[in-house]
Symmetry: C2
Subunit: 475 residues, 2 copies
């Protein structure tokens, strides 16, 4: 049996976000020795993640539990407890809240269902519980939520089964979701896309903490970049506006998945949460005014977060595409036009230089370098340098079929890409096409975006350009 | 050295499509002993595919080549030759055409570049070559194309490098592309999606055979279902109309990727092919009138082909969604509304039955079966049967997070899905969410569509419903 680790490893909780994200000690109330149960998974995950604070399982039977000493009650825990996770049925959960308040915990996360989502009596019970927490100065996340994670700190307080299939790596994208399943599935899609995650929060019934408040916290989290949000309805539009404005002021894009743009969707929200989906026009106006980007699918949200997490933002809507295939260049040009991007024509001198390198290529934008480059990658490398150096261009898309899957080809153009990136650190380079997992990861680490489908790449990257980024002269 | 196989294994060529797709014998002129060269890959691929006809490499040096006896010239080949593949520089290719005509070949596929795409003189040479072929009654595919494949027959006459990374399996989707690279990359995406392919043709400079003519042939190919087409410009809109009408009359959807809907795209097409992109309004009208579905990306085209290849087409725009997550149900409802799909409200009796099974679920459409089903899959199975049996519903979407990745969960609902499919063979069942490769393949084989992203599933499936499929009463 492992001894409970010391409780002094984490900094003192000083803000509400600290209490949730950086607890020095965690009690899991309703802890299970079975690592596949709701009360067992958070312990298993947190142990596997190497959490360095104190982890106290609470179970009336006491004894040993997943290698930790279990305590019969919260009161029995020897040290102080910053955060309590409650994984009990509703009635027992209400009593556990009282125990937590008596113990002096700073924050509670509650999985328990059976409150406002099931009946008016449940709502009243939830409201009383919230009032008790507020009076005691204790944060309450949930109830009826899937918990939360601070990936970098190893705080994995969720029972989502997604972590059985894939494990998050630390990174800059944070997520907050009113729906546990949407949050879990979006996280799975993001992890499969290779995206590193910072914080992940599900808010469930939102007795106290809601999506707006989480966005406000995340705006202040130094390790968080893009914020993925899923919101069905917000009770306090003023707080949501404050949160979105704060994120915008910190330069953090909020990628907002807010269904209910159709009457069918609004009805479904009412059926799902029992709450009003609100006024779609008011949400649309709020998002427009605060610069939150409206998403239509989890896939689009994940793609966009991936692009923003890279950290290079084009300064204008002017792009160039270099393609081994004239046809793919044409498809990208169409997609660029639909997305409001511009393809500036190169200066005559550049046209002549390209024409001198590949007589039968198209020296215009989109640039068609033809399959000839397969036999002489130096041609591509020189054209890339010419195109990347143009002042008129802030984003360069490169499509080389599946050459990135074959190392003998890849090594022929990798260094030229890295050099272009080094020479032009403020420009965005987007690789489209097939890359092996290793080659993909190495190029991503070097600051490139990699998309398998060129049209999807163009559509996604278009949302990175700040509104009004182009000078009016249309340089 | 392997003996040249006998030339009588294939049926006699009787139609132009037979000459191309079902040659009893193939000469590869400009054959290389190096399986990675342009003149070597088609031989390597065709041998690996188990082509049962006669394969004759032609190379002035004679001797052995990739295990086959090489012939110094076409004239030296002992038997008759149905099809000749020419992989030589332009001038030599022109001479080879004369040799082929003298030998009595029925069709020629030509990789060679350096014709109409490079100069006026090249265009004249190409026109003369075409006229010679026409006068002799010989089909000419290309020049400047990536060749073609008849996957089921093992005829793999392409030098695309894509086959180095992934190998096609026989199936019902055929593809024709004016651009070799678009054709190759779309094929790669389709293969990665697990789609089986029938015929694959790239038309290049289209001296003789164009995309329209290939569509017409594919409309008659018994093994072809959906037809993916990439078209930059068509010289004969009348022939294209005839082809699209023929495909429609055979019930074969044409999924048309035709760029040039923007001025930028049209300019790029002119730069790429030297030809006019044509009148966008005329193409849009033609596609609308013939029922060709306009695609915007290779990814969308592949997704749609995947859905059509399944062979079950919903009879109406009325769908139901069953989701373990209320939030995902809401997202699907929004997507359905955007795509013009309807979510009928269930009869009161069905509502009561569902409510009796899961008191806290939403007994309406979208159906929210809640995470409770994880503990009792029988609840999901009974609700699935109730929903699938509704006359009002022709497509059922099912979202179960990533339960399909874990066999212990998957086995809890697999049989209920199979039973629903058996009971309602005319309805379409769409699984959304995460499935292991094995579970995915087994469900696809059983007639289910599987999509990872629910919104993308809804968007794609909407295009399967024939126009006007709903009765005016909106049943």
């Amino acid at each position: 049996m492992q001894d409970t680790p010391p409780a002094a490893a984490m900094p003192a909780a000083v803000t509400p976000a600290d209490a949730l994200f950086r607890p020095r000690s965690i009690a899991v109330i309703g802890a299970s020795s079975d690592a596949t149960r709701i009360g067992g998974r958070p312990i298993d995950y947190t142990l596997r993640a190497g959490y360095t604070g104190a982890l106290y399982p609470v179970n009336p039977r006491g004894g040993e539990l997943q290698g930790l000493r279990a305590h019969a009650s919260v009161a029995d825990i020897p040290g102080s407890v910053d955060l309590a996770l409650i994984a009990l049925p509703a009635d027992a959960a209400v009593q556990a809240v009282e125990d937590c308040i008596a113990k002096g915990v700073r924050a509670i996360a509650m999985f328990s269902a059976g409150f406002a989502e099931v009946s008016a009596a449940g709502r009243e019970q939830q409201d009383r519980m919230r009032d008790r927490c507020r009076a005691a100065g204790v944060l309450l996340l949930g109830p009826n939520c899937l918990g939360f994670m601070n990936i970098g700190a190893g705080v994995m307080l969720t029972f989502s089964t997604v972590l059985e299939n894939i494990w998050p790596k630390p990174g800059r994208v944070s997520m907050v979701s009113q729906s546990g399943a949407v949050g879990a599935y979006s996280a799975a899609l993001a992890m499969e896309r290779g995206i590193g995650l910072d914080k992940w929060v599900t808010t469930g019934n939102e007795a106290d903490i809601d999506v707006a408040r989480c966005i406000e916290w995340l705006a202040d989290e130094p390790d968080t970049g893009p914020i993925m949000a899923y919101l069905e309805g917000c009770k306090d539009m003023g707080r949501l506006r404050t949160a979105l404005e704060k994120a915008a002021s910190r330069g953090k894009p909020v990628l907002m998945l807010k269904p209910g743009s159709s009457p069918e969707g609004m009805q479904a929200i009412t059926a799902h949460t029992g709450s009003d989906a609100g006024d779609e026009a008011a949400y649309a106006r709020l998002f427009r005014e605060t610069g939150a980007l409206r998403m239509q699918s989890m896939e689009q949200q994940v793609d966009t977060a991936y692009a923003f997490a890279n950290g290079v933002f084009p300064r204008s809507r002017r792009i160039a595409t270099i393609s081994i295939s004239g046809g793919v260049g044409v498809l990208m040009a169409d997609a660029a036009a639909r997305a409001g991007l511009k393809l500036p024509t190169p200066p005559a001198a550049v046209q002549q230089q390209i024409k001198a390198l590949i007589p039968f290529s198209s020296p215009f934008n989109p640039y068609d370098v033809t399959a000839q480059i397969i036999n002489d990658m130096g041609l591509f490398n020189r054209i890339l340098a010419l195109v990347a150096a143009q002042d008129e261009v802030d984003t360069v898309f490169i499509f080389l079929l599946q050459l990135g899957k074959v190392d003998s080809h890849f090594l022929g153009f990798r260094d030229a890409l890295l050099e272009a990136r080094r020479q032009h650190p403020h420009k965005l380079f987007v690789l489209c096409g097939g890359y092996s997992p290793n080659n993909r990861a190495s190029m991503e680490a070097a600051g490139f975006l990699v998309f398998e489908e060129p049209v999807r790449a163009v559509q996604t990257v278009a949302s990175l350009v700040p509104p009004g980024a182009d000078d009016p002269s249309g340089r």
